[in-house]
Symmetry: C2
Subunit: 307 residues, 2 copies
């Protein structure tokens, strides 16, 4: 086994940019975060922004820089074509898009094609690294993983390869309904999270009627003073997360679900999952760095780092 090279891991998303310098065993030596998501970077400026913010790290002899997330999208640094599922470390390594051969690469997202004509394709960018990291951290080869967020992902991993996944627009629908729709008039978005009304929303979402109907209850429960403005926000959150849990078709076994995300979101999903009798375990930002380190190690063994 060759000595690991200095690894710089960068997660460049739509609205934020995070980077970490990792040690020989994958430990985080230093990390940085900037409000410099790809939406803030003019076309053609990605390389200079990257050097401006991480240039000192990249000067280390033999440094390898892996960049995941929306930087590899059509609106990013350069488009890294999706790696089709089923995909594990090996497939991801083979699909790296080298910006500077052997030195800087974009990690591609994953795509999965529906099994029949009626099923639509699905895509992710950035989550794939977190998935492989969480598998490492939990020592699991098979798992259902959930990555809550603007576009929440449910992922089925079989023998350390992503077999299939589904995206849910839960986070974006929550933001739009709470800030832009008529429901916003009766919500207090700064109120404290209320576990009881959150779970009331989860329960309601499991009833007949569908989410387009249940959403209107946020208005009427306010009109009839059944819930306060702060409680209604938790109720809306429960309705939407509950709908996602009810309709996902990825999780089928009895093993604990692996949740990856911010503490706020994984706490809510944990509550809802456990309320519905599904065990789970949580991972945070460390999953990204663990995934990058594992990817770099696997690829160094397999050779594609010398393209």
């Amino acid at each position: 086994m060759t000595r690991p090279r200095p690894l710089i891991a960068i997660d460049w998303g739509t609205s934020s940019l995070r980077g970490a310098r990792l040690g020989d065993n994958g430990q985080v030596l230093e990390s940085r975060e900037f409000p410099r998501g790809i939406l803030t970077v003019p076309p053609g400026q990605f390389e200079s922004v990257c050097h401006e913010l991480f240039g000192d790290w990249m000067q280390a002899p033999g440094a390898l820089c892996l960049i995941s997330g929306m930087a590899g999208s059509r609106q990013g640094w350069q488009e890294a074509p999706y790696c089709p599922c089923p995909a594990g470390f090996a497939e991801l390594g083979q699909h790296l898009l080298w910006l500077q051969p052997g030195r800087i690469a974009l990690v591609p997202g994953l795509s999965c094609t529906g099994q029949d004509d009626m099923q639509s394709p699905d895509v992710m960018r950035g989550e794939e690294v977190q998935i492989f990291g969480a598998l490492q951290l939990s020592g699991r080869d098979n798992a259902t993983l959930v990555l809550p967020g603007t576009h929440s992902k449910w992922v089925h991993v079989d023998s350390r390869r992503v077999a299939q996944f589904q995206t849910f627009m839960t986070g974006e629908v929550f933001a739009l309904m709470s800030q832009q729709s008529i429901l916003g008039k009766t919500l207090d978005l700064n109120g404290a999270f209320n576990e009881a009304t959150f779970l009331q929303g989860v329960d309601q979402s499991q009833q007949a009627g569908g989410v387009l109907h249940h959403l209107f209850a946020v208005r009427t429960l306010g009109l009839f003073d059944r819930l306060s403005a702060a409680q209604l926000t938790s109720y809306l959150s429960g309705l939407l997360i509950g709908e996602e849990l009810r309709t996902q078709t990825v999780h089928a076994d009895s093993d604990p679900v692996i949740l990856i995300g911010s503490e706020t979101l994984t706490q809510r999903y944990s509550l809802a999952l456990q309320h519905l009798g599904i065990a789970c375990q949580c991972h945070g930002a460390e999953a990204t760095w663990a995934g990058m380190f594992a990817l770099s190690s696997a690829c160094t063994h397999n050779g594609p780092f010398n393209p």
Copy 2:
């Protein structure tokens, strides 16, 4: 039977204001429409706006003026408390809120309470008049009625009384997703309606996965160039209308559903309903005037017009 009094029917909604002067047999003698929904009227100014726009009609001897819609909401002229279901003409007449006794009244909306603790209350304002009008026009005593719109209503009428109804936020969710969400980036909202892709969306909505997942297909079908920007708009419309049809729990019999609304919307709902094997018949704005006329006739017989 007393000779009918001149009837002025006003439908005062959130964003528009429509009025009609009706003849002895309910025929529309004259109608007017203004962009003067309740959102444009400062508190305390409703009476003067009404007289400014309809004062000439109201001077007719013995004229009766009935006003339905959001003018009777908390943000309107005066709050007319909801009339609880089951409710027919008699109940609606008894719950009129008289602004000038015997001359000007607000027609209350309807509320229905869930059958158990888990069911949320539901409300409508303005649609109740259209419902009773469409029943008159179609000669039906029992029916399922659908009123598509920003907040679509599914209504069960039993023996000429509204027994139960459900609201769906379909129109508002369509507007937000197409104009404010990431989906808007790949849509052409001015493109021609495409029946085939609309029905493709309806079909997709009947599949497993749920609407929060299916919505994301609007993005991926665009990313992979499977549908054009104009087709995607019809597809999104089909997805959401299809979800409403799939999850409503009001319609259970085999009689044709009565659709009430604009030509554009009733045409889409007709297509979707017929695609799913449900017969329907359509009514437009005439249902409002027919409902107001029937309400005034019924109430004149029953006496509550002399409060």
